[in-house]
Structure formats: C-alpha cells, structure tokens
C-alpha cells in the first residue's frame, strides 16, 4: 500500500514527510519534484497525476499550490489514493481553517498528528474529521486572516484548485473562537460549473452542468438535517441519450442525468418527496454531486468577429451580453482569444465610460485578454481590437484565430434551477436557531465560442 506521504511547496521544500513502510529508496521527494517540474519540457505538458519512476509509483494532487503526494510500490487503485489525498487536504483544511503553505508550515506538527491516525502501515484508516477529533491533541495555530484575499464571493473560489471550490468559511472546525463561544451555523453551497460550446453561428453545440451541493456544518451535537430539493426533480434521462435540445426545454423541471451522494445521506424518502436526510459530519463535504445535460439558458451570449482590414491588418470585435436578471452581478470575468501566430501588435478600443476593464495582448501565447471586474445582468459590453501582422494573412483568418474562451463567477445565480426548498434542523428547542446559509454560485468550466 502507501509507502510514503509528503507535502511539497511550490519550490519543492518538504513541509511534511512521512514514511510508513521504509521500502522506497531515499530522495523520492526530489525525484518526484524534478519529474513534475520538467515533464516533457519541450511540449510544455503538465505531468499526469500518476506516474512511475524506477518502479516507484508517484501519485499526487495539487491543492492550494502545494503538492500532496503518496508513493507506493504496489499496484493499487489510483482512485483510492487520489481520493485519499484530496480528503487529507480537506481534513487538514477543516482543522486549520485555511489551507495554504503558511498555515501548513505553522501547523506541521498537527498535520503529523493527523497523518498518524489517517494512515497506518500504509493503509488508510479514517478520514472523518469528527472521528479524528478525539485523537488530536495539538491546537491549530491560526494564520493571519488579514493576509488572505478578502472574503468576497470571488475569494470563495480562490483557494484550492479551480475545479474544487472551497467555501468562504475559513474558520477551523475544532478551534474555539475568541470568547470561547462557538457560533452555531451551517453552510450549504450549490456550486455549478457549466460547460458550453457555441458554434460559429452562435448556436449551442454542447452544454453540461456539473453541480455539487457542498455542506459545512458548525452545529454542536450533530443534529439531523433535512434538505429538500425541487419537488419535480427527476433523475435519469429517459429514452435515447442523443441530445435533442428542443424537446427537453420547457416545463421548467430539472432533469439530472445522474447523481451520487455522500455516505451520510439517507435516501429513504428521496424518491417520494425529494428530501435528503443526513446527520452532517463535522467539516466540509459534498452532500451530492450531479450532472445535467438538459438544455439550459447560457448566462452569457458571446459574439466574435474577425475581419481583414487591409494587408497584414485585421479587426476583432468581441461582444458579451449578460442574459440574466439585473439584480445579479457576475464578477472576475476574463475573455481570452488566441490570434494568428504572426500577430505583432494589438491595440484596443474599449467602449466609452468603461470601468474596471483591462485589456492585454499576451505576446508569448498570442492571445488577447479582456478582463472585466463585474458585469451586471442585462448589460452588454464590447471590445474592439486592431491587429497588426508581421506578414500577409493566408486569407482564412477564422481558421487561424480563436476559439474565444470565457471565465466567470456568478454568485447567487443558479443555472440549472435546482433549488434547496428548505433546510430543516431537527433539534427541538425554542431558543435554538442556528444560522443557515444557502448560497448559489455558477462558474465557467469551459465556456467557448468558436469562430
């Protein structure tokens, strides 16, 4: 099973290093780091999460800019180890409140203590934040929250990898706050990552939603919780799996292609009233993951035009229309567009009175980058760019440029219409009224418009 576990910083420093079986030769962390840094250097490819060097298997995940790595000599299940690594990162975050290099370095003794209980002789034991509590004696040392990015909705997705968003909550599950009183609260986040590809004529080629209902509970005594979803929610697409967008629209029902659940979830009444019963364990976890290929209304409409404007010149017109209601605001929007490889210069022309917009021509990667701090629902924004080429173009500019890719986060916007109807805490007491936070967020996973 697992021979070693270690966490390396971005520079390759050991932050924690634990050997469980003493079978891997010395220097494995260095071998790993060199391999990852210089993986297929000339093609600039990323190292895959699983690779083998001289009979030692290295399995890693990247979390908060850190490498969480295990080594093994045995032909084990890669998913087991990858899930475990991710879970170790999450348990650590539960304890430390914030997971980054600084907090890990300050609390490395606590991490060793955790590791001792999580893995023994290379076998995973338990990763439940709650079960671990009784064996952990170190108090977490909190890192200065002031040095972290502000806790706005955008910051919610700054930690962790892009695809595994964390919650805004950065307090430890175990540490007592100033005054010794713990605030009773529970967070439920509905996070949807959407992928849409528009054809050159603007219609939708593919679309998909990968959603997660994420929970983080700070309730004492672990009361049972009831989470009610849309009553007309249906699971599993009937009939053939070809995607006919016209027939599946309308009605407004939410159809999930498929979903899976955390093991604490009781599904006894789910088929009847779409209610999930669970006793949430401490810490952060995904209650449910779901996938939707049903047609949905994309939040942004993107139009791109590239036209020749005389020899070795071209003009680009980018237009974004926000197709959601005006009381919702998208933020941290970045639009990227690759341009022909022989582009030398680009000059930009923003719309009059544009605020919080920046433009850039990335010479190395030959792309235009347009960043907008926020976009209010219903508004439209345009960017014009003039390109200067080092040679005459080959005629077919649309084949040499694009596709346009867009990144954004829209807080309090929910693409699929999946709703939490209510969140009930089964603890009978008049005075007991914990804070309940239900938040929705939509994020771009792959939002692409072709030319």
């Amino acid at each position: 099973m697992i021979s070693q576990f270690f966490v390396l910083s971005q520079r390759g420093d050991h932050i924690v290093f634990r050997d469980y079986r003493g079978e891997v030769p010395k220097g494995s962390a260095e071998i790993f780091f060199r391999k990852v840094k210089f993986w297929n250097d000339d093609e600039a490819e990323e190292a895959p999460p699983v690779f083998n060097v001289d009979g030692v298997n290295y399995i890693h995940v990247k979390v908060a800019g850190l490498f969480f790595v295990v080594t093994t000599m045995v032909n084990v299940s890669p998913s087991l180890l990858l899930e475990l690594l991710q879970r170790i990162a999450r348990v650590t975050k539960d304890y430390l409140g914030v997971l980054n290099e600084d907090s890990l370095r300050k609390n490395f003794i606590l991490v060793y203590e955790l590791l001792d209980e999580v893995i023994d002789f290379g076998y995973p034991q338990t990763t439940s934040t709650e079960a671990l509590k009784s064996y952990i004696f170190n108090e977490p040392i909190m890192v200065d929250a002031g040095r972290l990015p502000p806790l706005g909705p955008a910051a919610m997705f700054m930690q962790g990898t892009k695809r595994m968003p964390g919650t805004a909550v950065t307090k430890s599950v175990v540490a007592t706050e100033l005054g010794g009183k713990k605030r009773e609260e529970i967070f439920v986040d509905i996070i949807e990552r959407i992928s849409v590809t528009f054809s050159s004529s603007g219609y939708i080629l593919t679309s998909e939603i990968d959603g997660t209902i994420q929970m983080k509970s700070y309730l004492t005594g672990n009361p049972e919780i009831r989470l009610a979803l849309n009553e007309d929610l249906s699971i599993g697409r009937t009939g053939s799996s070809t995607y006919d967008y016209r027939s599946s629209s309308g009605g407004g029902t939410v159809i999930l292609d498929d979903c899976n659940f955390h093991e604490s979830v009781q599904l006894d009444s789910f088929d009847i009233d779409r209610t999930l019963h669970l006793i949430p364990p401490d810490g952060e976890f995904a209650v449910m993951n779901y996938r939707i290929t049903q047609e949905f209304k994309p939040p942004f409409h993107v139009t791109v035009l590239i036209e020749e404007a005389g020899p070795s010149r071209a003009e680009v017109l980018l237009k974004i229309r926000a197709d959601f209601s005006a009381n919702v605001t998208a933020n941290t929007i970045v639009v990227q567009m690759p341009v022909p490889s022989y582009t030398m210069r680009a000059s930009f022309e923003l719309e009059a009175g544009a605020i919080g917009q920046t433009t850039d021509f990335k010479e190395g990667s030959r792309r235009l980058e347009w960043s907008l701090k926020k976009i209010v629902g219903g508004s439209e924004h345009t960017l014009r760019a003039k390109l200067t080429f080092s040679q005459e173009s080959h005629g077919n500019l649309t084949k040499e440029a694009g596709p346009v890719n867009m990144n954004f986060t829209i807080p309090m916007y929910n693409t699929s219409k999946l709703q939490v109807r209510y969140l009930q805490i089964a603890k009978k007491s008049k005075t007991y009224n914990p804070y309940r936070w239900v938040r929705y967020v939509t994020q771009a996973n792959s939002y692409v418009a072709r030319l």
Partner: protein, 836 residues
C-alpha cells in the same frame, strides 16, 4: 522554478533550519531540559521537539540527538509523546541499540489507563522496524488484540501485520493469526474486523480461502460492508472481486446488495464496485453488457465531479471500457469532447476515446469537432487531433468526407498540420488505393521544401515514389531532393528517398536514370549504416538482374486491410483483469512496472481461488510459477512481445508486424510472402506453414484422427516424470522456442467446460499436465512432455479461450531443434480434442 532542486541540506528556505550547528544546539538544549522540573519545561520541550522534527522533515540528519530525545521522553504530555514517537519511529532502524532504550517507556505506555495512550504506544512499538526488538512486541500485541477499546484492537490488528512483515515466524509462533481470525469473524466493531482481514500476508498464512469466503459472504449479505469506512469498503470490494460465487443466483444477490455503492460520492468505492460487477459477470455475456450500460452514468458523473486528478483516474478506466466496447458508448460521444480547462493528459485520453467510438452514426460530428482542435493553439493536441481524424478514416468504410477534410488540412499551411496530414494521407492510400487520384492532385501541389518534419517528408517522398506515374513532376522533385542529399539530416528521409527513386526508375526510366545514379552514389557513401546498406543492396540487385529488382521494389501491392494493433489482446485482457489499479492508468499490465513482491495487495487470492491443481502439485508451486512466468515475460522487451503477438495472431507474413514504424517495414512486408522471405526469413514463414497443415486437418474434419500426428519424426515418452519444482526452474531458465496461436474444434471448445477432459485427452497423447487454472472463457494449462528415449523435456504454456476456440501456445524445449516437431504434434493433439 529553480532549474535544479537544491539539496535539502543546503536548502536556503528561511523558515527551515539548516546545518550541523543547529543539531548540536538542539542536542544541548535537550540535555538541559531532560531533568528539568520547571513549570514551563513541557512548553520548552515542545518547542525544541518541534524544531527537531522540522529539521527531520527538511531532510537534515538529526539522528545524533537520539539519546537526548529519549531522555526527554518521560513525560505525561501527549503532544510531546507523539512527537517523540514520531522521531523514534524514523530513526530507530538506524540506531537499534539506542532504540532498545525506548522499549521500556513504550511498553509501560502500552499498559496506560487511557486507551489513546495505549494505542499510540502500541502503534509506535510496532513501527520501530528493528528486527532484534521483535521479542518485545509479541506480548503487547497479544494483549492489544484483546483490549477492551476498539481503537487499541484496531491498532493491534495492523500491528500484527507489521510484525509479520519484519518477522513472520515470531508472528506465527505467537499464534496471532488465530486471534486475528477470531476478530475478523466476530468483532463488534467493523473497523477492527476489517483490519484483521486486511492483513493479506497473514490471511495467506492461514492458507484457507475458506474462511475468507465465509467472511466475505457474511459481510456482503449482512450489509455489514456499509459499516466500514469508505477506504475499508474499497479494499473489501477488491477482495470480493476475486471471489467466485458458486451459482448465478448468488452473483445476482451480491450485485443487488452492492448496487447502491455505485451512487457513492467516493470514486474509489464506485470503481471497486464496478470491478466486482465486471468480474462476476465475465461468463454471462448479456448481463456483462447490462453492467456496462449501468456503470456508464456513474462514471461520467465522477468525471465531472472532483478535482482534475480524480477525474483523470476515472477517465482512464472509462477509456479502458470504451476500448473494450466502443459500441456501447457511441451515443455518448459528446461527453468526450475536449473542454477548454482539461489538462493535456485528459485531452489525449478523450481523443483516443473519440477515435474508438466513431461509427456510421456519429462520425460526421466527431470529425467536425476534431477538425476544430486541429487549429488549436495547443500544438501537441492539434497534432493528436489530426492523427485521430486519420485513424477514424482508416477504420471507416465511407471515408469520402474525411478524405476531403484531411486534404483541407493541407491548405491550412501550418508546418505541423501539413506534416501530420501527409503521414495520414500516406496510410490512407495504403488502405484505400482508389483514393489516389484525389489525394495525389492535392499532394502534388505541396512543395517538399516547406516540410521540415522528417515523418511528413518521408511520407511525401513515399507518395512520390509510389505514384510517380500519376505525378507529373515526380522524377524532377525527387531529383532536386537528391541534390540536397547532404543537407538532409534524417536517415529515415534518406532511406525513403532511396526507395522512392528506385520505384520511380522502374516506372519512368528515362527521366529517372540520372537521379538513380546520383542517389545510389550518395547512398553508398552515406555514413548511416542502414542507408548505406540499402543503397548497396539496391545496387547489387540491379547488377544481378533489373527484372528481379523491379519485382522486389515494385511488386503488385495489395491494399492493407487492417493495421496491426499496437497492443496484443493478451495484454489488453491482462489490463482488464487488473481493473481499478495503476495498470489501467499506465495502460500496461502490472508485471511491466512492478517487481513481483509488489504485484498487488490481494494477488494471492487469485492463485488460491482460481487455480485448480493438477496431480502432485501444491498451491505454493503454482503461485511461484505464476511469478516465474511473469518474470519470463518481463525479460522479453515489449517490442519482442508485440512481434510474437502479431506473428502468432496473423499466422502469415503478409501483414504488418512492426507497428512502431509503419513506413519502414511496409516497404518489405506489403510484398508477397515469397519476397518477404527473401528479406525476412525465419519465424513468420514457419508459422504460416504449420498453420496450413493444421488447416488441412481441420478442413478434412478427420473424425477419428489417430493419436499419432501427421508425420512426426518425434515420439514421446509415455510416462515422463517431472516434478513441479523442476518444471518451474526449467520454465524460468529456458528461452521461448515457439509461440503461436492455434484453433480448437468447436466440440473441443465445448467440452472444455470441464478442464479435466483436456488434461486427460492430452495425457492420452503422452502430454502431461502439471498445473491448470482459470475461469470461463479463459483457461491456462501448463503441460510437459519428454522425447522418447531422451532426457530432453518440452514445456508448454497453453492459454485457451473457449469463446473464440483459440489457444495461445508457448513452447520451451531443452532441445530447441525438436521444438517445431513437438509443436506440430501438440497442435494436432489439441485440434483433435473433442473429436474422438
């Protein structure tokens, strides 16, 4: 981003201490604190301990402070204890004498009132890994297994495995396995119960899969599996996948009980469950297919959830399934489109899957999508996409539209796109010569000067030579290329140039004669051995007889029907058997990347449950033998294996047998067999002959073929004696004499429901079975035979697939010269099976 990783000892990181002086300083402080009874002594000790461990983490050798650490360890502070245990655990192995000092306080802690302390101490005690301290372990372990606290029992169960790892005999002498077995079957705490099972080595020692079966049964049927932690579930499911239920009802029961595991949010649990499902239904084709349908949605959901790393692993497994049953996924093609945010290792997998699932109904969409990627800024992916389009074209019947797309790529005028496309057009022409007209028209417009990449250039030159009669300028383009011979760096291109000029010469002699002379001269003075040799060969061939030369260079060609697969089906099956392991990610069976003692956590159970044993062999021999055999495979390089695989499966020499380089051998192997033998004599020709003789036999359908083979100069000893140990040794030592595929009669395949019948049949042909095993439809046999009146033995590994009625035969012989005769005899015996 530093170009080299600084050695940890010199690490300049400000937060990490460094250097020798630090260690001496720490030692001093520890010594001062050792006897201190000051009220804040524990806090001070914590600080110093922390610094010691920080140094240890950074890779600094702090073993010098061992004595001082131990002196400071007498404390009631748990945090301090833990740090000290951690330190001791790391350094005890290098300081066995000093480690003895720690035994005392660890043993004392094992009797502490607090179960947490007992557990901690026991775990640390077992983690010391010092062989000569083993005697101190046994007693605390035995007590630990009976501890009232589940936490301690669990640690003791794992501890027993640790003990077994360093000193198996003391573990067995203390009768720990028996205690474990009791825990496994009756402990009220699921975690404890699990960890008693998980001691793979110990359970093996119990040498009784019987208990394991009972255990698994009670686990699964009592739904106890759900009490386990998700990690334990994964490992138990892995065990369960090796377990063969007695009847189909039991199979369905297990599957129904595990059904909800497919909805688990943990991908590892889902994959482990899928493995159980796939393995249970191996012999039930229609249910097996239902399983595929059932697991599709959960897998796709897992790909979308979680981090890119987690989805990568799931995608690798999906890739394996797609490759095995592309039809079942053909309507899900959109799920395999590349997304902007996918890392390149994910995109590559997706491209391969798209290629595999392309069929009549979705090709248009898939190819359109792939063409979008061809213009991608990510050049490696653009290349892969173009190759994918080409592969789809090669596997489709209606390639019309695809050829047009490919030709459009050539108009994109990007170096790498052109180069990749040319290689594809060349392969396409080899399969669909009827397209030559359209392709040549476009290819003819490409200037060879614009192509830099050797592969693309070589492909263009191949087309110039092959279609010189249709390409007006061919001789002149070739001539200009020959003029620049010196500047051509790639030997591959020069080789192709040689051949192309030769071809052109026979088609358009007057125009090429000059160029041919120049080419041969340049080739003969080339510094590259292959180029020189080929030039010399052509020169002599022309000298000998131009007519013969023409037949060698420009034989009538048959279109290639199927390009050789890069991986043999045997390897693919092995990877499938190892579902939910690293083999799937690497796309290699485990023997190619792990040494034998690390094959897998539950390898043994396969040996015990799947193999029935032939006379006079013990279970242990077979397991050892399996390893031997794997090692033998290991000795052959991958390419060797592929060659054997292709030669065997094709049975004749007229197909391609070097998938790695399609251009080179194609010149040789696309010719008729007789010509090939001129260049490539040996094995393949032989195997085709032997297959003919076999075909004859089958064709005649000889109803009662005599036990004697057609014309064997070989008779076998009727009562050879070979003990398993010797067999195993011989198998390890001898080189492979022959490897081929042969067919069974349908009756034979049918009667193989009972492997014993084949064993008896072979015995009647004086071929003895030493071991056999497997489950339908795959059986594996090891046979041996002895030449009559000689000491020479023949050893055979025979893998029979009853579904396809084919057998893979590997023969090793003491006397290599008799191997062919023996092979003929063996095959005739095998093909008669079921007929008499």
């Amino acid at each position: 981003m530093a170009p080299t990783v600084p050695s940890p000892a010199k690490s300049a990181s400000p937060s990490q201490p460094s250097g020798k002086s630090e260690v001496t300083d720490l030692k001093q402080q520890l010594r001062q604190l050792a006897g201190s009874r000051a009220p804040d002594a524990d806090d001070q000790r914590r600080d110093v301990f922390k610094r010691v461990i920080s140094c240890m983490t950074a890779g600094i050798d702090v073993s010098a402070a061992f004595g001082e650490m131990v002196l400071c360890s007498a404390t009631s502070d748990v945090v301090l204890k833990k740090m000290c245990y951690l330190y001791v655990g790391v350094h005890a192995r290098n300081h066995p004498d000093l480690a003895l000092l720690t035994i005392n306080f660890l043993q004392r802690d094992c009797r502490d009132q607090d179960p947490t302390i007992r557990g901690l101490a026991l775990r640390s005690l077992c983690s010391l890994r010092v062989p000569n301290l083993v005697e101190y372990l046994v007693a605390p372990l035995a007590t630990g297994l009976k501890d009232p606290s589940a936490y301690v029992r669990m640690i003791a169960a794992v501890g027993a495995a640790k003990l077994y790892h360093i000193a198996a005999t003391s573990c067995l002498d203390a009768e720990l396995p028996a205690a474990l077995k009791a825990l496994m079957l009756s402990d009220p705490d699921a975690q404890v119960s699990f960890h008693s099972t998980n001691n793979d080595e110990i359970v093996l020692q119990l040498s009784s899969t019987h208990y394991l079966c009972i255990y698994l049964n009670c686990l699964i049927c009592n739904c106890r599996i759900k009490e386990f932690s998700e990690w334990a579930q994964c490992l138990v499911l892995e065990l369960a996948s090796k377990f063969l239920p007695s009847d189909n009802n039991e199979i369905f029961d297990i599957m129904n009980l595990l059904e909800d595991r497919l909805q688990h949010a943990n991908g590892a649990v889902v994959l482990a469950t899928i493995k159980v499902f796939l393995h249970l239904t191996m012999s039930m084709t229609d249910v097996h297919q239902q399983v595929y349908e059932r697991i599709k949605a959960p897998l796709l959901t897992l790909v979308g959830a979680g981090s890119p790393e987690q989805s990568y692993s799931v995608l690798c497994h999906l890739h394996l399934l797609v490759m095995r049953a592309p039809m079942l996924f053909s309507s899900d093609y959109k799920r395999f489109y590349c997304q902007f945010s996918d890392p390149s290792y994910v995109k590559k997998l997706k491209l391969e899957m798209l290629t595999a699932i392309a069929n009549e109904s979705n090709t248009y969409e898939i190819v359109t999508e792939l063409c979008e990627y061809a213009g991608n800024v990510d050049v490696p992916i653009a290349r892969e996409s173009i190759r994918a389009v080409g592969k789809i074209a090669l596997q489709q019947y209606d390639v019309n539209a695809i050829v047009d797309r490919l030709l459009q790529f050539l108009e994109m005028d990007r170096d790498y796109v052109t180069a990749e496309t040319l290689v594809l057009v060349k392969d396409l022409l080899r399969k669909y010569p009827q397209w030559s007209h359209d392709c040549i028209a476009v290819v003819g417009n490409i200037s060879s000067k614009n192509i830099q990449e050797p592969k693309g250039k070589a492909a263009l030159i191949w087309m110039l030579g092959e279609y010189s009669q249709d390409m007006h300028d061919a001789p002149y383009i070739l001539e200009s290329l020959v003029e620049n011979w010196e500047e051509e760096h790639s030997p591959e291109v020069r080789l192709h140039l040689l051949t192309a000029v030769m071809k052109c010469f026979f088609k358009r002699p007057p125009e090429t004669q000059m160029a041919l002379g120049a080419t041969l001269a340049a080739g003969l003075s080339d510094t590259h051995q292959d180029v020189h040799d080929r030039a010399l060969f052509y020169y002599r061939l022309l000298q000998y007889d131009p007519a013969v030369a023409e037949r060698v260079v420009n034989p009538p060609k048959q279109a290639v029907s199927v390009f050789a697969d890069t991986q043999s089906s045997e390897i693919k099956d092995r990877i499938f058997d190892e579902f939910n392991s690293l083999s799937v990610v690497y796309q290699k069976p485990s023997y190619m990347f792990t040494d034998k003692e690390h094959r897998g956590p539950f390898e043994y159970s396969e040996d015990l449950s799947n193999l029935t044993v032939g006379a006079e062999t013990s279970e242990k021999v077979i397991s050892a033998q399996r390893y031997q055999e794997n090692d033998n495979d290991l000795l052959l390089s991958t390419s060797d294996k592929e060659d054997i695989g292709t030669a065997a499966s094709n049975g004749s020499a007229s197909t391609y047998n070097a998938p790695s380089d399609l251009i080179g051998p194609s010149l040789l192997s696309s010719q008729t067999p007789s010509e090939t033998s001129l260049i490539n004599p040996g094995g393949p020709t032989y195997s085709s002959q032997s297959n003919f003789s076999l075909d004859d036999l089958l064709g005649l359908g000889v109803p009662e073929a005599p036990a004697a083979p057609p014309a064997p100069a070989l008779t076998l000893n009727s009562k050879p004696v070979l003990d398993p140990g010797t067999f195993q040794k011989k198998w390890g030592q001898l080189a492979l004499s022959l490897s081929q595929e042969c067919s069974l009669s349908p009756q034979g395949a049918a009667s193989l429901m009972n492997p014993q019948s084949l064993i008896r049949h072979m015995q009647s042909n004086y071929i003895q079975c030493i071991a056999s095993g497997g489950q339908p439809p795959n059986y594996k046999f090891f046979f041996y035979a002895q030449k009559d009146g000689a000491t020479a033995f023949f050893l055979v590994e025979c893998i029979v697939n009853t579904a396809s009625a084919k057998a893979q035969v590997k023969i090793k012989a003491d006397d290599g010269t008799a191997a062919e005769a023996f092979s003929a005899l063996f095959q005739s015996a095998l093909s008669n099976f079921g007929l008499s």
